[in-house]
């Protein structure tokens, strides 16, 4: 039964390869028109999940509905309603831009009377007008990604899956690509995107953090930043940095310490209370503190904090 509210519904989805559990009891509901980010390190199970949702891999157990169709039972109906960009650029490098577009228009059975209009649209969206006759393999990375997106949405699918669409693309192209994603979301398209770039995750409406096949957090970027940290965050600029890090990792009240740029981020229970104590603690070890203040955590802080917590918990269990 098609779900009116949700474009993607995932219930207890599991994928095992032999004894390795790539995706472990995943549950998700993604609303129509949402830009949903799937964030996690390499090997966390992001691509496996996306491939199951596109009907390319059969789930070991559990259920997933995409655009109202069961991915295991009706993969062909799913495919007509999705656009998919695989992790590796996989259009045909030896074809011209226009030939790739015509190929995918044919594969998605774009009606003949709409063909010209759809291809024009894809070209202008990908900013490739006038480049139709270039051989795809000669395009720069950012252009290729935009073109792959253009090919994947020629049939106006209600849901698109993008597997690390911007890996290996320069920051400006990456920004342009995200503008495209938001443009499509505004038109009502649901976008499911995986990434391991933290700054990209900020562009998503909602995020799932996935780690070793399990979802460890779910929410809007600001919710995650507000709720998922076990404590508050302090920024300390001091010298020498490495000596300070070493000292702080074993300091009382500090649950986590990590280097961010030329400063340290500390996770503490109460920032206001900890600040003077930390200053004192470092001064006692001949470390000069240039700056210390409470900061709002970034997604990276949240992610590091959640994954180290998970690691610690697993170590205790083991």
């Amino acid at each position: 039964m098609p779900d009116q509210e949700n474009s993607v519904v995932v219930e207890n989805l599991v994928k095992r390869f032999g004894t390795f559990v790539a995706v472990d009891r995943l549950c998700l509901e993604i609303r129509k028109g949402e830009v949903f980010g799937f964030l996690g390190p390499n090997g966390a199970g992001k691509s496996t999940t996306i491939r199951m949702l596109c009907g390319l891999l059969k789930p070991t157990s559990g259920r997933a509905l995409v655009a109202g169709f069961d991915v295991a039972r009706k993969p062909e109906s799913v495919r007509q309603n999705i656009g998919y960009m695989s992790q590796k650029f996989s259009l045909y490098n030896d074809l011209k831009v226009i030939e790739n577009l015509h190929l995918f228009a044919g594969l998605y059975s774009v009606p003949r009377d709409k063909l010209k209009e759809r291809i024009e649209w894809a070209l202008s969206m990908a900013n490739l007008k006038g480049q139709e006759n270039l051989i795809t393999g000669t395009l720069p990375g950012g252009w290729k990604q935009r073109m792959a997106l253009g090919c994947a949405v020629l049939h106006k699918p209600p849901v698109i899956f993008l597997d690390e669409p911007t890996s290996g693309v320069d920051p400006i192209s990456r920004r342009q690509f995200w503008d495209l994603i938001h443009q499509m979301a505004e038109e009502g398209v649901t976008v499911f995107v995986t990434t391991h770039y933290m700054e990209e995750a900020e562009y998503c409406n909602r995020l799932a953090l996935i780690f070793r096949g399990k979802m460890v957090a779910l929410g809007t970027p600001s919710e995650l930043k507000r709720d998922s940290m076990k404590g508050e965050l302090l920024l300390i600029e001091c010298e020498p940095l490495s000596k300070a890090l070493e000292a702080l990792q074993s300091a009382p009240d500090v649950s986590d310490a990590a280097v961010f740029g030329n400063a340290l981020h500390l996770v503490v229970k109460d920032a206001a209370e900890a600040m003077p104590r930390m200053k004192q603690y470092l001064a006692g070890r001949a470390i000069a503190v240039n700056r210390i203040e409470q900061i709002r955590p970034s997604l990276e802080d949240v992610f590091v904090s959640l994954t180290t917590a998970r690691d610690a918990a697993e170590e205790v269990k083991a």
Binding site: R51, G55, M85, L95, H102, L107
Partner: protein
């Protein structure tokens, strides 16, 4: 099955073939090259074999005999030597295939009416060639011997009695006994094997290797549409190459063509379906270009070359091998080719080959469609 999707795949495949110089080479240059290679290079006829002669007699009669060797189209006297060591050396280093030694008392014993023996030293490395050469040498010597008897009878005023028995031979199908007429039609089977299995196994494995298959199967295109779309251009190319090869055979090498051209096309189409399906099946299983083309050569090209009756007659193979050839589609195709080209056998008498070939085509095509799934596992 959607024609739009099938055509989209086929069109893309055609563009890729046209843009890839390697496949273009295989499609255009290779058939002609193979035809010329086998047409000129492989010659099973033994003619103008180099021989050395050592004439110890040096008489009129011994010269007469040597002239007969010289004028035979099977031999070419490359050197007259004056000792055994020279002959031995020539046989050793391959300058001669045979050495003829005429004894010192050759003319004397002929005059006395006694039996004379001419020695022939033969390089037996290649037993077949050696046997044939011995036969030719005996024929030359017997011819001379008969001439001498005839002369003697005439001198003694007697007429020649006709020999009571003789064989009157007439060769059918390949009247001039040219081995090229026997070999060239079979080259088509080799060409088909390369185009069909080798090329297609590469093109599909390439999609897996480059990751484009993942993108392709994420679209609504069905497994059948991918298969037919990818194979259709190769089918057309294969049929085109069949015609090119047939025309080269007929007009360049003057191989007789006596059968029906339609039957040739039907047979070739069936064999193409066989090799295309095999190539597709192999690439689905192998998934890398290297493995796929190795396997494709092993299961199509080699049997077509060695066991199809293309060069080596199946009837002369050991029984076990003969039985194995029955499961080789190439055997039936080569047999069809030879019958259509040389014999002009009516199509109604070709069912012994056409039916097995059709069964192979059907079963392998089914196997190919069943083997390919739109999943990554």
């Amino acid at each position: 099955m959607s024609l739009t999707r099938l055509l989209a795949v086929a069109k893309k495949e055609v563009v890729q073939i046209l843009r890839d110089s390697r496949s273009l080479f295989i499609v255009v240059i290779m058939p002609a090259t193979l035809m010329l290679l086998f047409g000129y290079g492989v010659n099973l006829d033994l003619k103008h074999m180099p021989i050395y002669v050592f004439d110890r007699d040096g008489s009129q009669q011994s010269q007469d005999l040597l002239k007969r060797f010289q004028s035979s189209e099977y031999f070419k006297v490359v050197k007259v030597v004056d000792g055994y060591p020279a002959i031995a050396r020539a046989l050793d280093d391959g300058h001669a295939k045979m050495g003829i030694v005429i004894p010192w008392d050759f003319s004397q014993r002929l005059r006395d009416g006694g039996p004379v023996q001419v020695q022939a030293l033969v390089d037996g490395t290649d037993d077949n060639t050696a046997n044939v050469l011995i036969g030719y040498a005996q024929a030359v010597v017997q011819g001379y011997s008969a001439q001498i008897q005839l002369d003697w009878l005439r001198q003694h005023g007697q007429s020649l009695q006709p020999a009571p028995l003789s064989v009157e031979t007439r060769t059918w199908y390949n009247e001039d006994l040219e081995s090229s007429a026997f070999i060239i039609p079979g080259v088509l089977a080799l060409v088909m094997s390369v185009i069909g299995a080798f090329l297609t196994s590469l093109t599909i494995a390439r999609e897996w290797e480059r990751g484009s298959m993942e993108q392709l199967i994420s679209t609504p295109v069905s497994a059948m549409e991918i298969m037919f779309g990818k194979l259709a251009p190769y089918f057309v190319l294969g049929m085109f190459d069949t015609m090119v090869c047939a025309l080269i055979a007929i007009y360049w090498f003057h191989v007789p063509f006596r059968g029906s051209f339609v039957t040739l096309l039907i047979s070739s189409a069936l064999f193409l379906v066989v090799v295309l399906s095999l190539g597709f099946f192999i690439s689905v299983i192998a998934k890398t270009q290297f493995a796929a083309c190795q396997i494709a050569l092993l299961v199509t090209f080699l049997p077509a070359f060695l066991l199809s009756g293309f060069l080596f007659a199946i009837e002369q193979m050991p029984v076990a091998l003969q039985i194995i050839t029955r499961i080789l589609p190439a055997r039936y195709y080569v047999s069809l080719l030879k019958k259509i080209f040389l014999k002009g056998t009516p199509t109604a008498m070709l069912y012994g080959e056409l039916i097995p070939l059709a069964v192979f085509a059907f079963v392998l095509a089914l196997l190919a469609t069943r083997s390919f799934h739109k999943r990554l596992e």
